[in-house]
Amino acid sequence: MLIDDLAKRPGRWLTQEGPRSDVVISSRIRLARNLENHRFLSRADDSERRHIYRALADAVMECVLGEEALLVSMEETTVLDRQLLVERHLVSRQHAEAEGCRGVAISADESRAVMINEEDHLRLQCLSSGLQLDELWTEINQLDDALEQRVRFAFHEQYGYLTACPTNVGTGIRVSVMLHLPALKLTNEIDKVLRAARDMKLAVRGLFGEGTDAIGDFFQISNQTTLGRSEAEIIEDFGCRVIPKIVDYELAARKSLAQNQPYQLDDRIWRAHGILSNARTIGTEESLFLLSHIRLGIQMGRLKEVSIETANELFLFVQRAHLQKKNSAAMEGEQRSIARAELLRDCLNPSSR
């Protein structure tokens, strides 16, 4: 498998519709691990970094990801390909932009991605569509067990799994979901909900994690505390209490819009459709903003001309790296905006299909 193969289609895991996918785009669990008897990366010199990379890449590829897996050395990868991996949520932005020996191993269906030498030696992650945290925990726990047959992770009786930053110590777990909350945004209730989430010690981030904006009404919510509560407890609290509540708020807001402001709601949806299917040049941010309203229209049954698969694909393909890969050419900003508008017109106008 090659990176170019990835670029042509959305991740296989994302094409299936998971539970509550009207609001929950995807679920993700990641575990942070470090090898014992090795320094953390901020103190490891180049040769130790390479040693860690080789040891972990071998272990991960052999016992975790299956035959068709792809191992990407970030040092040997172009900026464009690294950006592509960020857009697919397979690596963090920090990992793409960092320096030194580091990489990522990706399973064929992209549901598993293991970053090596990011902030910690190992960052295992499992992804699924919709809200499926229990399934993800079972899966990632098994991966972790399998890896522990091959390597020894740094562990302390009191502090648990040891991580480079003490904010991740203990379970090393980060449970997160990507939520699509357009109705809460339109009804101006979003700030209230996000504030409540922050009060519950949850982190709220944008589309691409740490330090990114919430473009297209996508919000990534995740746990922050990792020490003193078990993985099961963290997941249950998050997946059974917090997230369903936010989902219910969004659905209530959608219902209220449909009942109280049906014309304004349809106007939003159809204006978005009108612009996206007619624009001759358009930027990423505007595309995502309008696609968000289209997705809302589809999920509420008010826009039947576009399939949810098309909308989900477009969220990915309008982005910078994907656009260039699809056109097999490096493009400047203006060229990209023209190509993006063409792509949107092709996909949204039934007559041109």
């Binding site: 990366l41 103190r43 726990n141 047959q149 992770f153 009191q158 648990g160 040891l162 505390t225 078990s230």
Partner: protein, 171 residues
Amino acid sequence: MSIPCQKCKQSPATVHVTDIVPPNGEKRERHLCEECAEGDGITMKQHEPFNSVLAKFVQQKVGPELDEMASTTCPSCGITFREFRAQGQLGCPQDYAVFSKFLVPLLERAHDGLTRHVGKVPVHLAADVEDGSHSELAELQRRLDSAVECEDYESAAGLRDTMKKIQTHAD
């Protein structure tokens, strides 16, 4: 263009006050410089930033402890606690033991007051514990306690049932 202070006639007026004078509610404007406004009790001198007050306080009260903190060095990776604080990343797994005393308050803040790991233990270490059900029960008991504390009786009942099942199974 700046108006000179009406009082000292020298510095430019940067404070502009409109008084409503009783009984007719007549408006009277005053234009003063910062110093004169302060003298008249209209404005107050800017407070010393909270951070610097805090830093001074810490310097006086816990200076010796800070010196110890700054000079503690990990024998394994050579990082000092001060370097860790500056970059936010520890140098090696041993740091958790070496800096234990200073890390605990940080961990409390980051993890909602909790400082002891609960949850998964590496397979090779878990094998040392003879009967896994004990730790599982302890974990369930802890969750039961916290559910009761949060008045989440539905979860509490579920946890109690699970514990009963494990106990009867063990007996």
